[in-house]
Amino acid sequence: MSADWLFEIGVEELPYKTCQSLLAQLRGKGSAEAPGLVYETLAAERLVGGGDGGVADAVAFAETRLKVMVAPRRVAVVVSDLPREQTAQTQRFRGPRVDVAFGPDGVPTKAGAGFARGKGLTPDRLQRETSEGNEFVVAVIEAERRATELVLPGVCRRLITALQIPRGMRWGARPAGADDYLRFSRPLRWLVCVYAGRPVPFDFYDLHAGDVSQGHRVLGRPLIVDQAGHYERHLREQHVIVDHDERRRLIVEGLDAAASGLGGRWFDPAGVLEENIYLAEWPSVHSGSFDERHLRLPSEVLITAMQAHQRYCPVEDAAGNLLPAFLYVSNADPAAAALITHGNERVLEGRLDDAEFSYDRDLAEGLEAMASRLGEVVFHARLGSLADKSARLVAVAQWLAGGVGRPADAAAIAAVGDQGLTVRVTGELPAAVVAARFAKADLVSQVVIEFPSLQGRVGGVYAEKAGATPAVAQAIAEHYLPLSAVAPVPASLAGGLAAIADKIDNMAGAWLAGEKPSGSRDPYGLRRAAMGIVRIALEYDLKVAPRALASAAIRAYAEPADRTRAVLPSNASGADPEGEIADFIWERLEVLLLDEGLPFALVEAALGAAAPSAASTAGAASTPGAAAAPAAVRPLPVDLPRVAALARTFARVQDEAFFNDVVVAYTRPAALAARAAAEPGGVAVAPDPALFVHESEHALAAAVAEVRDPLATALAGGDVEAALLAAAALRAPIDRYFDAVLVMDQDPALRANRLAQLRQITILLGSLGDFARLPVQQG
């Protein structure tokens, strides 16, 4: 025996993000790990689940029996086939030993009678079980099976109070008899609980649950829900489509039809469709138009004016040109659309008039004049003005461009550092520097003040109008990209460099101001910024070493071009901001590579190329010659594309014999090289051949000398596979060496010399990664 259940929470108009969140919380993911609040709450009351089929049950429940629907004024849960009472549950409680519970005469003792009474049984109903040679009494109790309609009020109350409301509000007066206000996203106004065709009345704060729901605010009337199965139909009769998926389908169909009626195609860069689903209970889509003269505005401005506040969708023709039209979703009677369209058109006309007024004022002022006002605008209370920031961006962009370019580019990069917006530049590198200087100017434009999301793009338009070269204008327009972990990166190298400069400046600033991200706190979106740096570096194969980049950005704060504007925050967080920022960037690369599906161990090994292992640095500090070691054996600053190439190549060749050879050739010496730290006399940078005893030591030294150059050349050329092949040649001499040589010799001089040789190899192969993080297969 089972029956259907409806629970509806009636509420004043919910924010759309709350709608999405409540839906996700109640429905869960339909999996055992995230069964959702409805399942969890019913399961806790033994109305679903039970037995041993927990996993399958949660999945099947979500797929076949649960429907959660959210509309602006209501959250509804419909569950089919809910049993008429709680499912059976047998509980066993072990009591005292039988000889304690009963006397020799079989009469219950005080202890036995007390145990039985405590479990609600008479002593004769106690059962027995044997455990480890002792016989105990056992109370076997069938849990009470309460009728479902008696359990549901508690379920409903718990569902409301268990919902996470990020910024709950209070309303009215403190409810009588309650300790505190009920908090919710918006005021609760009614509750409907119907089970098996009958209302399940209960009180909750000031509300009385029953079977009366509310229709559309204007077009509908209150209604009685007689059956859970009739709920959607009854509401539809009162002009409410409660199922959000159905509303989405209706709106998309309406948008398609309206756009094709205009001979165009609708689009929605700001994602207002999802908002509109939760802004109307009776949606219909209509089109309006605006005066063609507004088409002189940049399309970014037009689109934002339509979308940002009004939640309209723009329409474009087959060639991608904006039409002087918009589509909107109405919650009113579709028959009244003519008047409503007129109203919406007037609102949009006003907004476009306003935008045009601002746009013309901006054009009259010009981007260079705006840049000259940046000194008046604070970037951050402790980090100076936007003019300071612009100067730093120029310095970092010059550093970046210098690192990326050839020596021949250096003069052009240096020359544009203090040039105006319209300087003729050839090449992306100097363009990036000019763009960096004017990238922030549009922040004081009227249009960006009105539509902040247009920052950058508006600057690009104004740069072009002012006569900047196209590369400069494009770089300004693109320097906030990518806007998310998956959004496009700048489409030009100049834009990419300007974007990296902006992002690393934000990161350095946060660290210097003591506001670095921690845990879930990342108010400046620096994880996204770091991911942007990684993605741009990979896209353009920019040999950017995170630590060097962080140093350049921090240097720009500490030694600004204009010394009178020096920004020296006093409360820098962390003793080693460069290192922390570099690690922060490496972590993003790790996330990116793991998202590509690369094995964790291989990604870790590749990242090891950037963080010298303990083995390769052990004992180095005690070695006077370390700082002056030959460049070829010192780890080079490792850049982002290098590590990505390492990880991706490892994944490709991981099953090849030569890859395993490299792993063995690294791990055998590395395991011992770490002991260099324990040498009281220190360990030299390179072994002294005069102290070699075995032929295999000479052979290994010769092999190292032979491998060093081809390895470095291949790596510098980005050919990781060739570098691995070169390194694999060390496997055989290393195996022979370990067969013949006892490294930890009694003689300290011989021992130190052998450790020096092993550490040298660890450092050399460590430029390919830290293979000690991999499981070794001998073979």
């Binding site: 509000m169 605010r217 009244a336 007037r346």
Partner: protein, 335 residues
């Protein structure tokens, strides 16, 4: 007058003053104390003590009034059809917020002649923060056919104090509603009043007739002419006087000086003489005063504050009540 004439008169949209009149009588019928505008410049009806002070304590309160909103930086020399340095709000506050307040609000739109079945009225999420008052709330902006006509806010905190009970505040944008009802595209074309001369000719006075010259002159004054030195001096003097009132146990006079501080700050801001850091500091000092006023008001005037829901009769009883409500200094995230 012929019946045809009579009909055309009936179907004409209401004048600006008729809109105000309709709202006054509608909210009078809802039991509101119909107040008059405050005598000191404020940026919004929320600053009027009938809202800020009266909504702090536990006593029930219903009030409605027109409030001139003075926002010097928003002036556009009378040249922009939508922006004004001085305009009107119609403000309604009811404490505690009634359960049917949205329906009552919709009835008020009907009272203005809006046929709800022919328009698209929406409640769209919009939360409110008033950093200078240490105040915030949650609610909506109300749309009529895509135009924002009202701000609808459940106050959660005022002066840093939790609102208990919770007040609902409705703020109608009178010019927007008039433009919407009258179908005009410029605020200056709003028909303020209309009457028929004895000879039968009709006379119309527009919003522009009444206020366009004011907008021109005050924009020029606020942006170009005002004496920044005097305003800085006034700010400091008003701030000190507010503190003196607080020290004397007089929260209502103290609040007047908070309002004067706030206006002086707005004037300085429009004049463009406040740097960004100054700005933060000035806002912080106004907020600090507003918090102290709120605390003193709860202590002295309301005779107990939110905890004491039966304090109806103790308006002037000078009960000393130390009310350490939590949260008074924890709204930084909302500022």
């Amino acid at each position: 007058m012929t019946s045809a004439n009579a009909r055309s008169v009936v179907t004409r949209p209401p004048t600006y003053q008729a809109i105000i009149g309709a709202l006054q009588s509608f909210w009078e019928r809802q039991g509101c104390v119909v107040m008059q505008p405050y005598h000191t410049e404020v940026g919004a009806g929320t600053f009027n003590p009938a809202t800020f002070l009266r909504c702090l304590d536990a006593r029930p309160w219903r009030a409605a009034y027109v409030e001139p909103s003075t926002r010097p930086a928003d002036g556009r020399y009378g040249a922009n059809p939508f922006r004004l340095g001085h305009y009107y709000q119609y403000q309604v506050v009811i404490k505690p917020s009634p359960p049917d307040i949205q329906d009552v609000y919709l009835q008020s739109l009907q009272a203005l002649g809006i046929d709800l079945r022919k328009h698209d009225i929406r409640f769209v999420e919009d939360n409110w923060e008033g950093p200078t008052l240490g105040a915030w709330g949650q609610g909506w902006e109300v749309w009529a056919d895509g135009m924002e006509i009202t701000q609808f806010t459940y106050f959660q905190q005022l002066g840093g104090f939790d609102c208990d009970p919770v007040t609902i505040e409705l703020t109608y944008g009178l010019e927007r509603i008039a433009m919407y009802l009258q179908g005009v595209d410029s605020v200056y074309d709003i028909v303020w009043s209309r009457w028929t001369e004895p000879g039968g000719s009709e006379r119309v006075v527009t919003y522009g007739d009444v206020y366009q010259e004011n907008e021109r002159e005050f924009s020029r004054y606020n942006f170009e002419v005002s004496d920044a030195g005097m305003l800085f001096r006034h700010f400091a003097e008003f701030e000190a006087e507010a503190q003196r009132c607080l020290d004397a146990g007089l929260p209502i006079p103290a609040y007047d000086y908070v309002l004067k501080c706030s206006h002086a700050f707005n004037m300085l801001d429009a004049r463009g003489v406040i740097s960004v850091t100054d700005r933060t500091a000035h806002i912080a000092s106004v907020r600090d005063l507003a918090r102290k006023v709120a605390a003193l008001y709860l202590e002295v005037v309301a005779g107990g504050g939110p905890e004491d829901a039966d304090a109806e009769s103790s308006v002037n009883s000078h009960v000393n009540h130390t009310d350490d409500k939590p949260g008074s200094a924890t709204t930084a995230g909302d500022a």
